[in-house]
């Protein structure tokens, strides 16, 4: 039976989701205003997945992420100051300004990086899971990836090896219905990516990725299974990105209808969750608003820190190409 979240966990999930939402809204605006350089892939709409999974993990558990990775780092405990600093390309960022949005990471938190390559994460997550098995710990590794990545050979090889070696791994597919601009029906002949689990010899589970509690329960079972040494699970979360592939306004391509977007937005994972918590008497509307306000202030502080931070020194250009002193 799935473990029900207690009130403390519910509030924790809520805060993680709000932190992602507010961070991403502000980051998106800053990019489109030209203040953050490069391209940001925003996680807005998918918050229930990152929060519902990550609330089970400790810093000793590892994750790999995607090009849409801010949400995973925030849910894993990433600090706004250092995240914004990285997005602004400053030396105080998590990657000292060398990685930016698509490579943001924090090894101490067990976040082995966003990844600019679709399907880049799963083989690395399998390596992290192998480490845990080799060291005989109870830690796990989680690979987040999209429906698009499930067509990459790297995903297939990683899934096969995870099952073969019974690694403590969880493969979390965030099926947001699109591989970049191509709808799922045009990139694979199946509806549920989780169907592929049978081909690897692991359980495949489908959950509503807009429902944080459903994600929490399913992820809890998969993680428990992995910690017990029973092997990996492919957990597919049906979700949706509210904004475009890149940014908020995006490129204005007409690959999905306003109506479709509106319908998914009516199932906003944070709105749904807050309604449920209010109904259960766990979090009043007023208290929820207070959380948003508090996070808004943290985001503001983070942006200020980033803007006040120096750009990397010219002398650092060639730093960290290699480890030295070994």
């Amino acid at each position: 039976m799935a473990k029900q979240p207690n009130n403390k966990v519910l509030l924790d999930i809520h805060r993680r989701m709000v932190r992602i939402r507010v961070f991403e809204e502000e980051a998106g605006k800053l990019m489109e205003a030209g203040k953050i350089p490069g391209a940001l892939h925003l996680y807005v709409g998918q918050e229930a997945v990152a929060a519902g999974v990550m609330v089970h993990l400790t810093n000793d558990d590892q994750i790999t992420s995607t090009h849409r990775g801010h949400g995973h780092l925030i849910a894993k405990g990433g600090e706004f100051h250092r995240m914004f600093a990285e997005l602004f390309g400053r030396s105080t960022g998590y990657c000292k300004g060398k990685g930016g949005s698509m490579h943001i990471c924090n090894m101490e938190l067990g976040m082995l990086g966003a990844n600019g390559i679709v399907g880049g994460g799963p083989p690395i997550a399998i390596g992290a899971a192998f480490s845990q098995k080799f060291k005989k710990t109870k830690n796990v590794a989680v690979a987040f990836f999209g429906d698009g990545a499930s067509n990459e050979g790297s995903f297939h090889e990683a899934a096969n090896m995870a099952a073969l070696y019974k690694l403590p791994a969880i493969l979390v597919c965030e099926n947001n219905g699109y591989g970049e601009f191509t709808p799922q029906a045009n990139h694979q002949a199946i509806v549920d990516v989780a169907d592929r689990a049978a081909g690897y010899g692991m359980p495949g589970v489908v959950v509503d990725g807009m429902d944080a509690i459903a994600v929490y329960e399913a992820a809890g079972e998969a993680i428990e299974r992995a910690r017990k040494g029973a092997g990996p699970t492919l957990l597919e979360c049906k979700t949706y990105r509210f904004y475009d592939h890149v940014g908020i306004r995006g490129m204005g391509l007409t690959y999905r209808t306003d109506d479709e977007v509106k319908q998914w937005m009516q199932r906003d994972p944070i709105t749904l969750f807050e309604a449920r918590l209010a109904e259960q008497g766990v979090l009043s509307e007023k208290k929820a608003a207070a959380v948003h306000a508090e996070v808004q202030q943290q985001v503001k502080d983070g942006i200020k820190f980033a803007e006040d931070s120096p750009f990397p020194d010219a002398a650092s250009l060639l730093d960290d190409v290699y480890a030295t002193g070994s």
């Binding site: 590892q62 790999t64 960022g93 998590y94 990657c95 000292k96 300004g97 060398k98 990685g99 490579h103 990471c105 924090n106 090894m107 082995l112 990086g113 990844n115 600019g116 390559i117 399907g119 880049g120 799963p122 083989p123 690395i124 997550a125 399998i126 390596g127 992290a128 899971a129 192998f130 480490s131 845990q132 080799f134 060291k135 590794a141 050979g153 790297s154 090889e157 990683a158 096969n160 090896m161 073969l164 730093d319 960290d320 190409v321 290699y322 480890a323 002193g325 070994s326």
Partner: protein, 336 residues
């Protein structure tokens, strides 16, 4: 070091290249509790060329791990394991198979430390087999060191002798960076002195194997042996060639090569890979940048023609550079 590596003292222990590989890997597994080997048929079968033979039995299946035929998975396993505290040795059976895992090599392994602002350390050793001459045709015979030497973040070694292959593997495994040890399948039976115990061949240091005063011949990998034969022929016509085995392609020991050219005033670069756009072009460029005023002749290059490796023994023989072609090119360049 130096000549001692190829000209063994009488009575010194001699081993074939293939056994030197085994010894190198074994020393690493004995020395580092967090080291493991993973690759296709490396475990129970001991690899297609037998160079892991005995290690599965000695260290067990938890440390000598058979993988599916999944190069992306193998390199990915290495990257993830290294980033979380282990010291993987991963095997890509034939260098040609790099095409199967080039994203994991080029975009993940090579760049992770830099992209992460130095917060990740990836002590990975990749062992792989290169080289033509075994009639294995176009997909099992290539020398693709230029692909990986072009990627900042990777180190690349090409050991030519039994001594060097053991020392390169140990040096690679002790290094905190991803290091490729590109071995040569035609050298597996080559015998030479191999000391017992652990020792390192330093990464980034070329080896002046045959000192000479008239001509600098720089070689990559197995071409060392062809160049040494060529040097004997050249000696017969009064040209005293200095043969330098690069050993390390990335980083490349420009200093040793340039010092030699300043003395000999002539240089020829020899590798098995396709000549056009090969790593020899970089070596030639380094020489002209740093020793232009010392050169008495154009810097020459000997390599394979711009073609895939042919299967037929009759054609493959024409394809792979050898001592005769080295001699001919050396003579052509100086009109001797």
């Amino acid at each position: 070091m130096g000549q001692a590596q190829v000209k063994a003292d009488a009575g010194a222990r001699k081993l074939p290249y293939v056994s030197a590989i085994t010894e190198g890997v074994r020393e690493v597994l004995l020395e580092q509790d967090n080291a493991f080997v993973a690759g296709e048929d490396v475990g129970q079968a001991g690899s297609v060329y037998g160079y892991y033979r005995g290690l599965y039995k000695e260290f067990g299946g938890d440390r000598v791990i058979d993988t599916p035929i999944s190069e992306k998975g193998i390199i990915g396993l290495g990257v993830g394991a290294a980033a979380t505290g282990l010291r993987p040795i991963v095997d890509i059976m034939f260098m040609d198979f790099l095409g199967e895992c080039m994203d994991e090599v080029a975009n993940q392994m090579a760049k992770m430390r830099f992209m992460f602002g130095g917060s990740a350390t990836l002590p990975i050793t990749v062992l792989t087999m290169s080289g033509a001459g075994a009639n294995l045709a176009a997909q099992h015979s290539q020398s693709l060191e230029a692909w990986i030497a072009h990627l900042p973040g990777l180190k690349v070694m090409m050991p030519a002798t039994p001594y060097d292959v053991k020392g390169c593997i140990i040096a690679a495994a002790r290094d905190d960076n991803p290091v490729f040890v590109v071995m040569n399948k035609m050298s597996l039976g080559l015998t030479g002195e191999v000391p017992e115990g652990a020792y390192e061949v330093p990464i980034g240091v070329a080896n002046v194997v045959r000192p000479g005063k008239d001509y600098t011949i720089v070689t990559l990998g197995r071409m060392l042996h062809e160049a040494l034969k060529a040097a004997e022929t050249l000696k017969g016509i009064g040209i005293d060639a200095e043969v330098i085995d690069a050993r390390s392609v990335q980083p490349f020991d420009t200093k040793t090569v340039v010092e030699s050219v300043k003395k000999t005033h002539r240089a020829l670069v020899v590798h098995e890979a396709v000549r056009f756009g090969g790593f020899g072009a970089e070596i030639a460029a380094q020489i002209q940048e740093h020793a232009f005023d010392y050169l008495d002749a154009p810097v020459g290059r000997v390599g394979a023609p711009f073609s895939p490796v042919p299967f037929s023994p009759a054609l493959e023989k024409l394809y792979v550079p050898n001592a005769e072609r080295i001699v001919a090119e050396a003579r052509r360049l100086i009109g001797a």
